[in-house]
Symmetry: C2
Subunit: 663 residues, 2 copies
Amino acid sequence: MGTGNYDYPKSNFEQPPHKVAIPPPQPFIKSLKNAVKETLFPDDPLRQFKGQSPARKFILGVQYVFPFFDWAASYNLSFFKSDIIAGITIASLAIPQGISYAKLANLPPILGLYSSFIPPLVYAMMGSSKDLAVGTVAVASLLIGSMLGAVVNANEDPKLYLHLAFTATFIAGVFQVSLGILRLGFIVDFLSHATIIGFMGGAATVVCLQQLKGILGLEHFTHGTDLVSVLRSVFSQTHKWRWESAVLGVGFLFYLLVARYVSTKRPKLFWISAMAPLTSVILGSILIYFTHAEKHGVQVIGELKKGLNPITIMDLSFGSQYLSTAIKTGIVTGVIALAEGIAVGRSFAMFKNYNIDGNKEMIAFGMMNIAGSCTSCYLTTGPFSRSAVNFNAGCKTAVSNIVMAIAVMITLLFLTPLFHYTPLVVLSSIIISAMLGLINYEEAIHLWNLDKFDFVVCMSAYFGVVFGSVEIGLVIAVALSLLRVLMFVSRPKTMALGHIPESTIYRSIDQYQNAKSVPGILILQIDAPIYFANSSYLRERISRWVDEEEDRLKCSGENSLQYVILALSAVGNIDTSGITMLGEVKKLMERRGLKLVLTNPGGEVIKKMNKGKLIEVIGQEWIYLTVGEAVGACNFMLHTYKNVEKQTSTGSSGKESRNDSNV
Amino acid sequence: MGTGNYDYPKSNFEQPPHKVAIPPPQPFIKSLKNAVKETLFPDDPLRQFKGQSPARKFILGVQYVFPFFDWAASYNLSFFKSDIIAGITIASLAIPQGISYAKLANLPPILGLYSSFIPPLVYAMMGSSKDLAVGTVAVASLLIGSMLGAVVNANEDPKLYLHLAFTATFIAGVFQVSLGILRLGFIVDFLSHATIIGFMGGAATVVCLQQLKGILGLEHFTHGTDLVSVLRSVFSQTHKWRWESAVLGVGFLFYLLVARYVSTKRPKLFWISAMAPLTSVILGSILIYFTHAEKHGVQVIGELKKGLNPITIMDLSFGSQYLSTAIKTGIVTGVIALAEGIAVGRSFAMFKNYNIDGNKEMIAFGMMNIAGSCTSCYLTTGPFSRSAVNFNAGCKTAVSNIVMAIAVMITLLFLTPLFHYTPLVVLSSIIISAMLGLINYEEAIHLWNLDKFDFVVCMSAYFGVVFGSVEIGLVIAVALSLLRVLMFVSRPKTMALGHIPESTIYRSIDQYQNAKSVPGILILQIDAPIYFANSSYLRERISRWVDEEEDRLKCSGENSLQYVILALSAVGNIDTSGITMLGEVKKLMERRGLKLVLTNPGGEVIKKMNKGKLIEVIGQEWIYLTVGEAVGACNFMLHTYKNVEKQTSTGSSGKESRNDSNV
């Protein structure tokens, strides 16, 4: 029999077994209310309002919408000093980057400056991050360029293109605000870390490829963003490459990369990297001014209009035939911008140990884009590079954004003529140097080591973007990520448990080498909720476990199987298909002469088993609180039965139907 | 301090705690192979081939593809007697139903008979169910009618319509075979029980509404299938209603329903219900023949061509401009037909305790539709009503299908003229009486009682079909079902655990009224895998649990919180976002002066924690095998710390950072 060398916990069965409780019934309305609360308000945002006077509630409400009024009261001179330094530093980065990214979106360069003036002011009032620096981002700029460029040519009809860009920005803003107000911020969570790494890397590669136009001084270039079209375009016009432009571009790129390398090695020298773009612009402009290289094929920015943002609320073109394109662009770029902005805000909040409310941030981002679209700005968010500089420069509050906005305002009012001679190739170098930092191959290797599936998601996002388009990459990656979740649920793990010696603990035999299976009893753990999507699978898989176990026992000549224990600890929920399935498994086991035992069904599971009358089918006495107690009871009965059988010498009580029973 | 009246399991901590094991590393290829096997071959279909001789393997292979050769050898006369009776019974049902459903699909009535001749023969060879009776079904017929009817008018261009129907059937067959061969049968599982109940009920309602045309003797009727169009069409031509037709229809419907009622009450009298359609047809035909009612506006079937199925392999029109419609129709009807056929086969297999291999059945269904499309048949599957009659009539094997096919063959060769005077209104009555049985309101009530969400899915499928279209209903229901799975993963349950008195067991406080929370320790259980889709949520939710617990303790003046134990038993898997999240939670807890303790991480989880260096971050000594051991260790340290503190009288060791610590 072999029970001699198996030390099942006798002491456990001497106690009366504990009962599985059915949680007290809840009225339907209450459980619905709870479900809605957990789904949409997991962070309980109105907690602080509870039990306050109306006046206090009003003040709290204003502070809730405008966190500025919350922290402004405790603002002091030492904060201000830090914010001034950080603000000027990020302004010096914002001006050249703004111009570069606007070129990337095929928009007039001046829009990049406009976009660093109004949106930061809105964010400073409404945003809850202390470290986020507002501005345009390369990926969203590229997306606007490629999505709007597919229907309207920016060179042939610049006005229509511009109006569509404002409309798309407005729609992105409205979409962001709606997500925040409807508390659907969790949609952003479906862009997994792996998706974002791959997507960002792919977009950065694409953006770098686009810069070949500027670096090589080409005048005509493909509208496609994929690797194949770009390389074909570049190598089909080798005779038009300009060496002057290339030398300048590579030189500045080298300078920028060295500056960044120094700053990475010594975080104290962050300002070298932060100032490098502006010094490149200044050096480049001086060089062109004195060499008149603009007459030798080196393209320059040309005239930038002096003055602050013109009002463009009348330019939002909702009647346009391209409205659907604008809506699509707005939603896609809006989501991407949110994902970046919120991830950045959260990362820095983690460092400094304060909280970011994702839904509130969405409202702030949305309002800043709505305001921006009415004042000549295009899509802005919280770019990682700029926010990191802001953080390293020691910013204390969102006042650094205000300082940056004022610096940009002064530039707009007085300094725009200085950019006349700025060569485009310097802007290309600035973009490339910023983008190379986004290709995070170390993180991709980390993903490979940690989780192969995440790596696959990351790579498909990357190659989807590089060889297809930004949207294709995104759709593939999100679809794969969702598929994984569905696969987890439709193919849940089942594992055999064994007894850990000298304890009442049962754990997976695969994981614990010292766990021993119990003679005559198969203990299976199901590792996911039982839903329609997996109930057929689980039924078949449990049958197969039993088949395999019986084969194994037959080969080794051990006692035949008598009990199948299903450990339901990890079954968080069950639906009607699942209840039906458990009933079917009970029948199947009965036909094979086996007893089905359940252990530790959770609240939801036992509630539904009760409603579905499954408790009677299984038998109240076959449902235990722990695997240990179930095994104790089974062993007790195995022994009793064996003794009875020895006395009567022939099996009875329904065992006839089993062929392979060798008891 | 209150520990006096709290009986934590001291005995447990006197033993050295058990270690959490990291499962032995598996080579990547092996784990990939395992994953593929579990996903596509959970039933291990090739198990019986293992270790057999080549000749035996060949025989097993033939028997695998054609189960007929498996059971034919042991076929005997007593089986044959039963099968003859069952076969003739289902033939008497198949003939009128076949003609009715073909009319529903706007196809020539004779196709209904053709479709009950070839496909049952194919299924008898290849199918593994002993009880399934093959034939056309109402819902798929309706779908063919509405989907093909949307592009081609069956009255204006009957030939093109017919060819498209054959093409759609061929495509459905190819699709079914591919699903089976690629072992993607689990796609059918995504049509949950609730979806099918609602969908079938909706489709039955729609089919009944369509019969108003026949019952009221209308000649023109809407092409729409939704309630609004049908009612508008019916009530806009009240002056064309024919009372003769209506009286006949209602009379026969009453007869059919009474027959069914009798059979339901006394299962032995199943043949009354089974024969009722044929007797209705005979009675109706005789009535018309003698009253010449066909001249007074009662429509009749008219001439049916004598002879067996013409070959239609050349009629498959792959070059047609409507090919995409045929493909769509084929795939949608193919999936629906599979879902019904496999569910029916499985249900009866459960009764008689034999196994149905879903993927093999798909291949059988697919082959029977491919063969059917080449021989003037349209889509067939295993209808529930006919199979139930087959089962009740005592069929033993698929030979009953062969008997039915022979009976239909004789009808086709000699008896078709008898149907000339069969009134259409009788066919309408037969359809309505069959459909009313599909509106399973009792099951809908059961769903409401058992699982509210399943009820919502069911109702949206129903109303989607009735007010929208069959496809709309299906899409809504599947989308809702998937949303539920995603919501489960993105908003996993977290629950506080408490100690069950006189044990070492910790269970949910909500479920177990006698479970007591442990002073100074918050024990949380996470009830789902930790994925990108829920990692932000879990981080916030854990923070909120801690906030709420600290508020509660502050109000009640109890000891402050010292330890947060996360019970990971139900966390079946984790991805990189999850690993990052756990690291962040650790940091958050540290900042609040709390210790984070993990218990019972599963194999996948501990493996990834190890690779992600999270074990070092959390600390090996803070990971326990059971909640009991973790609580024991925490309590031990709480006491030691308290004693040390009492001696030194001021807190040290990193506790200063906490404001609300009142130890």
